[in-house]
């Protein structure tokens, strides 16, 4: 479905995409937040100005752009995360709008009868959509989950299943998931549109297999909406979509503050906290925490980027007692440390994460001294990737010139110099993730990720 959609080469959006890809490739934009913001801005631009006649096309277009961004720098997973998130929002908005359209359609469209309550397939789900929050046992979701063969209404489905508690729990889960992924609405929509479709083909029978296929995609449905009708919709939809992306941007911009809100819950008075690198999130977190609690921060200088230097400066300039140590002393100083707080580059679905090189040393030292390791991060860094086997280059090897001055001509050829930028930290080393939306343990990350993105977007 995506193959056909790509930007024309003369489109200004193509130029913007190319520019962003190039700067990603050249590492002119680095850092998860910057990448995320740039991506969101680009997608917003595309949504605003690109030409598309169906929602399908738009989604495919965004997907193709997302794929290019990921290809441009596979190590910045934030770009993909943002694209997935926006895709999901667009689908949600679209469904909401489409449902609203259908609801309002009886009034607006002259031929109303087919949308009337007489249609058995549509009445219950529609009703359900409107009372989504209150309706615990939804016919549509059960229907979708259990009985592909049951035809039409599916009102008897839940009745059969609700007998056992375990089933009930399973149903809740599947329902929650469906709700999140929007396929609930999707399903209703599919039914309504299918009705619409079948009416046009003057066939009254409802195809029994359709509602059972759980992976009904909006494309399937929307392709059936005639474009005229959609255009009317899309003109209304566009501002909504742009607004949705604005929300994402806003969320990104306030990530640091949101994460930092919980600081005083996690930092006690007179703690000695070890951190390294210069994560903006950690910086905000510590500064926020210092308003309520008095503690000391030990910053490892984090060679070879020496980002620790700037963090130490920034912390001490806002009055926090700060000690800067070389990386080599991390293990030695750890007995005096009460907590290790690190930032992340990307958090993976298994609860492992990539962080600035040296973080692994910190994490292992913390582990061996049984000190808690807390990762503070925004949820936009959660990537739907299972990195049980991560490939060698994932730690992003940089130029050796940081380690070794190339001005001495000897040694350039004889020495192999390895300069990874990230470390991979296994989930078992991490005690807690503090995010902008609550605190989670590593084993729960997969769940958050599953809820945050649509499954069909995992592979862009």
């Amino acid at each position: 479905m995506a193959a056909s959609a790509s930007l024309k080469s003369n489109d200004p959006n193509a130029r913007l995409t190319e520019a962003l890809c190039t700067s990603l490739r050249r590492r002119q934009i680095v850092g998860s937040l910057n990448v995320a913001l740039a991506t969101a801005a680009l997608i917003q631009n595309i949504v605003r100005s690109a030409r598309y006649s169906t929602i399908d096309e738009l989604l495919a277009l965004i997907k193709s752009v997302g794929r290019r961004l990921i290809d441009a720098n596979p190590k910045e997973l934030a770009a993909g995360n943002i694209v997935r998130r926006i895709l999901r929002l667009i689908r949600e908005e679209y469904r909401a709008a489409a449902a609203a359209h259908i609801v309002s359609a009886p009034g607006s469209a002259p031929e109303t009868p087919y949308l009337g309550p007489t249609t058995p397939g549509i009445s219950a789900p529609l009703n359900h959509y409107l009372n989504l929050s209150s309706n615990t046992s939804s016919s549509a979701s059960e229907f979708n989950f259990f009985s592909p063969s049951s035809s039409g209404g599916g009102s008897h489905g839940p009745l059969i299943r609700q007998t056992s508690l375990s089933n009930f729990v399973a149903m809740r889960h599947s329902r929650a998931q469906l709700e999140r992924s929007g396929s609930l609405v999707d399903l209703q929509l599919s039914q309504s549109t299918n009705n619409l479709f079948t009416r046009n083909n003057s066939s009254n029978g409802y195809p029994p297999e359709t509602p059972g296929v759980s992976s009904i995609t909006p494309n399937y449905n929307t392709s059936k909406i005639d474009s005229e009708e959609f255009m009317k919709q899309s003109s209304k939809l566009k501002p909504v979509l742009i607004q949705a992306i604005d929300e994402v941007v806003g969320e990104l911009e306030t990530t640091h503050e949101d994460v930092a809100k919980g600081a005083k819950e996690h930092i006690h008075s007179s703690e000695i906290i070890l951190t390294m690198g210069h994560s903006k999130t950690v910086e905000a977190f510590l500064k926020q925490g210092y308003r309520d609690r008095k503690f000391t921060v030990v910053v490892a200088e984090s060679a070879p980027s020496y980002l620790g230097h700037s963090l130490a400066q920034s912390l001490s300039s806002s009055g926090i007692p700060t000690i800067l140590i070389p990386d080599s002393s991390i293990h030695a100083i750890l007995p005096r440390i009460t907590k290790v707080i690190l930032g992340a580059h990307t958090v993976l679905a298994n609860g492992g994460l990539f962080a600035l090189s040296g973080s692994l040393a910190c994490a292992l030292a913390a582990k061996s001294h049984s000190k808690p390791l807390v990762i503070v991060t925004g949820q936009f860094k959660f990537a739907p990737a299972w990195n049980l086997y991560h490939d060698f280059a994932a730690v992003d090897f940089q130029s050796p010139s940081k380690l070794f001055s190339s001005s001495s001509s000897t040694g350039k050829d004889s020495t192999e110099i390895i300069n990874p930028y990230y470390d991979y930290i296994r989930p078992e080393l991490v005690q807690l993730f503090v995010t902008n939306e609550g605190d989670h343990s590593p084993s729960y990350i997969y769940r958050l990720i599953k809820e945050a993105y649509d499954e069909e977007d995992v592979e862009l």
């Binding site: 080469s9 130029r15 190319e18 520019a19 190039t22 490739r25 050249r26 590492r27 290809d71 441009a72 720098n73 596979p74 490939d391 060698f392 280059a393 090897f397 940089q398 130029s399 050796p400 010139s401 940081k402 070794f404 001055s405 190339s406 001005s407 001495s408 001509s409 350039k412 050829d413 192999e416 110099i417 300069n419």
Partner: protein
């Protein structure tokens, strides 16, 4: 002289997007090298399309330029312009850059190219442009250099060019000496300084030092990047002076020496001096040597973010494995028994059979390597078939080459496109083999002579009957192309040219790394400084004697002798004599061993041996001499004093005139040294136990015998000494055989 064009547009910060008001930054890439260093490989393609890590050099260059916010690129093509055109047509850079190909068959040098460029009137006269001499790989933003140039020009309109220079890096045969005035970065003087043959002297015009610049010289290792920021005056000047060919040798020197012109050239140091040049990497591919070096640098990620796995546009996707091994993601077949030792790169769809060894090499796409083949530090282009059990060392294999089984390709060999080597061929070192015959400069298509018999014979001898290809003359034998009346390019000197080849080592040449001196503001003592400048400047290139293995030069020995003679005759203090010797050793880069030898030789020759001399006589003389001068000898053998004894032994054996007479008195000499405290007992025992003293150091039987003979003369004394020592300690001496010796030999 063109009127100084006033820069009407203020240099604004570049913004992305097409700001129509601002003139786009322009760059000129000279696609032709105007030399023949890559010629074998360039029979069907221009040099700029040679693949480095499977990406054409032009693509690397364009990537580097677009990194530098360049908007418009003029590729100035000579031969094969159609190929360059079609490459650019299909390249993804067309989307981001405005690339235009200008082709000219007549331009024979960079100067010609600039003249034609001036004629074409494509350059924006208001703004400077970037001139790239040879393909570059860089992660440096050249627009910073442009900004610096503009700033300089705001202050002084006479700056017409800024040359990029880099710091550090490898030694290269083409390193010039530049004199720079740091506060203004103005280039004062430019001399080409080939490594070989070394120029014993470099002349600097005296007015440099009489100028208002108070001077002292700081030295950096700086090299020329081959990237210039030029004003429109530069092509114009080239047009005016039709004899400017080489941009450096002619143009730069012409501008610098011409008082009339009043133009100035600045240099811009790329990268930060303090922090190990701050991760910037700028290199250009000038010859096969740099081709190899840069390939390895790229694989080692020095040019990061330009690295093979970083998704070059339209390029191949590579997977990075441990040890800087890059394998294309597209259908590479590796055998289980293949050993890979990085840094290396294997292109898409290549297949390596079992027991292949790849070491620090690059393989292009669609290559096959037969079983048992070893490839070391070689650069194999696309579509090459290599048979079984071949050995390839430090060579470049062109596109579509077919190599049979059991072929050995020697160091530094270049195989042009489409060459085919039959089974068992052995390619000599530094050979060049092309598909077509070598064409000299005076080549004329009309007089296509047939291959003469001798040549054919030679070809068959080397390549065998199954091969297709022609042996090209070696680089150094190649008739000199540049023998114009204006004097030849010192870099094109055959001896220097050899060093430009892949596989040649510079390490055995002594390093004269001082390639740039800058004149900086002296804080004080203006009067004395010109003197120091002159002296240090003139001694700079003298530091490079090429024959390190043969020991110091003849002058050292004569000078040392004279100095010792003086010291001996005039009875100088030992410390003073030692100081004098040390200075001499430093000055001549001679080393301690040579110094010690010469000192021993001198003093031993002072021992007067007559036919009727008795042992007592000799002992007395020796003791006397070494009582005074022994400390001098000792001060030149810091670590191992037994070397003194060995040196004496060597002297006795090898010196015909003096040694012969002293040979029989060797034991006495040692005794004298012992008595005069020049050598201690332990040192003598060490001497006795060392293998060199028994002549193990030589392979010559005759000589070994002599060593042994002399050794026998010295050994008893040592044994006696040891005996005495152990007697003192009331120890048993369990070395019975030594006792026997001592009995019969002691005198």
């Amino acid at each position: 002289m063109p009127p100084k064009k006033h820069q009407s547009t203020k240099p604004e910060p570049k913004t992305k997007g097409d700001n129509v008001d601002e003139a786009p930054l322009q760059a000129v890439v000279l696609a032709d090298s105007y030399n023949r260093r890559f010629e074998v490989l360039c029979q069907d393609q221009p040099r700029v399309l040679l693949p480095l890590c499977s990406t054409p050099l032009l693509a690397w260059t364009l990537e580097s330029l677009s990194l530098s916010k360049v908007k418009q690129v003029f590729v100035f093509c000579g031969v094969h312009s159609d190929k360059i055109r079609s490459f650019i047509e299909s390249s993804p850079y067309r989307n981001t850059l405005d690339i235009q190909c200008l082709s000219s068959q007549t331009a024979m040098s960079a100067g010609d190219a600039l003249r034609e460029l001036d004629d074409m009137n494509v350059l924006n006269a208001e703004n400077p442009f970037i001139l790239v001499h040879s393909p570059i790989i860089s992660n440096y933003d050249l627009s910073k250099m442009v900004e610096a140039h503009k700033k300089r020009r705001e202050e002084d309109k006479n700056f017409i060019m800024t040359m990029g220079v880099g710091q550090g890096g490898r030694q290269h045969p083409e390193s010039p000496i530049m004199l720079v005035h740091p506060p203004s970065s103005r280039l004062l003087h430019y001399v080409q300084n080939p490594i070989s043959p070394t120029q014993p002297r470099v002349a600097f015009p005296s007015q440099l030092f009489l100028d208002p610049f108070p001077t002292n010289i700081d030295t950096y290792e700086i090299w020329d990047l081959g990237i210039d920021i030029c004003e429109a005056d530069v092509p114009a000047l080239c047009t005016e002076n039709f004899d400017y060919h080489d941009m450096r040798r002619h143009f730069v020197n012409g501008v610098l020496t011409s008082e009339l012109l009043g133009k100035k050239i600045a240099v811009h140091l790329v990268g930060d001096q303090r922090s190990g040049n701050g991760g910037t990497y700028v290199e250009r591919i000038r010859d096969t040597r740099t081709f190899g070096e840069i390939t390895r640098d790229v694989l080692r990620r020095w040019a990061f973010p330009l690295a093979p796995d970083n998704n070059e546009p339209g390029g191949v996707q590579y997977e990075l494995r441990a040890g800087n091994v890059y394998i294309a993601k597209d259908n590479v077949v590796l055998s289980r028994t293949t050993t890979l030792s990085g840094p290396l790169l294997i292109g898409p769809r290549s297949a390596l059979a079992h027991n292949t060894h790849i070491h620090q090499s690059t393989l292009g796409g669609d290559c096959t390597v037969g079983p048992g083949t070893t490839i070391t530090q070689s650069y194999v282009f696309d579509d090459v078939r290599i048979g079984a059990n071949c050995i390839l060392r430090e060579c470049i294999i062109g596109e579509g080459v077919i190599i049979g089984d059991d072929v050995k390709v020697g160091k530094g060999a270049l195989l042009g496109n489409g060459v085919r080597l039959g089974k068992g061929t052995i390619i000599p070192e530094f050979a060049r083999i092309g598909r077509d015959r070598y064409k000299g400069d005076d080549y004329d298509s009309d007089e296509e002579e047939e291959e003469d018999e001798e040549e054919k014979q030679q070809r068959l001898e080397v390549l065998g009957p199954d091969s297709t290809g022609y042996l090209w003359p070696n680089e150094e034998e190649e008739p000199d192309s540049d023998s114009d009346d204006e004097g030849e390019d010192p870099y094109e000197h055959p001896r220097n040219k050899r060093l430009l080849q892949l596989g040649r080592r510079l390490s055995n040449l002594s390093t004269s790394t001082v390639s740039l001196s800058t004149l900086s503001k002296a804080s004080s003592s203006e009067a004395s400084s010109p003197l120091s400048v002159a002296s240090s400047a003139s001694t700079l290139p003298d530091l490079a004697p090429l024959n390190l293995d043969q020991g110091p030069r003849e002058e050292f020995y004569t000078e040392a002798k004279e100095s010792l003679e003086r010291a001996y005759e005039e009875d100088h203090k030992v410390e003073n004599a030692a100081l004098e010797m040390r200075t001499l050793v430093m000055g001549e880069n001679a080393g301690q061993d040579a110094a010690r030898e010469v000192i021993l030789e001198f003093f031993l020759s002072k021992i007067n041996v007559k036919s009727d001399s008795t042992a007592g006589d000799i002992l007395k003389q020796t003791t006397e001499i070494f009582e005074k001068w022994g400390q001098l000898v000792r001060s030149f053998s810091t670590s191992d004093y037994t070397l003194i004894a060995i040196d004496i032994q060597k002297f006795v054996i090898q010196n015909r005139t003096q040694g012969e007479s002293l040979k029989q008195w060797f034991g006495i000499l040692l005794r004298g040294l012992y008595d005069s405290d020049t050598l201690s007992e332990d040192e003598l025992i060490d001497w006795r136990d060392s293998s060199i003293s028994k002549g193990e150091g030589t392979n010559d039987q005759e000589e070994k015998k002599m060593w042994l003979e002399v050794y026998k003369k010295g050994k008893p004394l040592v044994d006696v000494l040891e005996q005495m020592e152990s007697d003192d300690d009331d120890d048993d001496d369990d070395e019975d055989e030594d006792e026997d010796d001592e009995e019969e030999d002691s005198d």
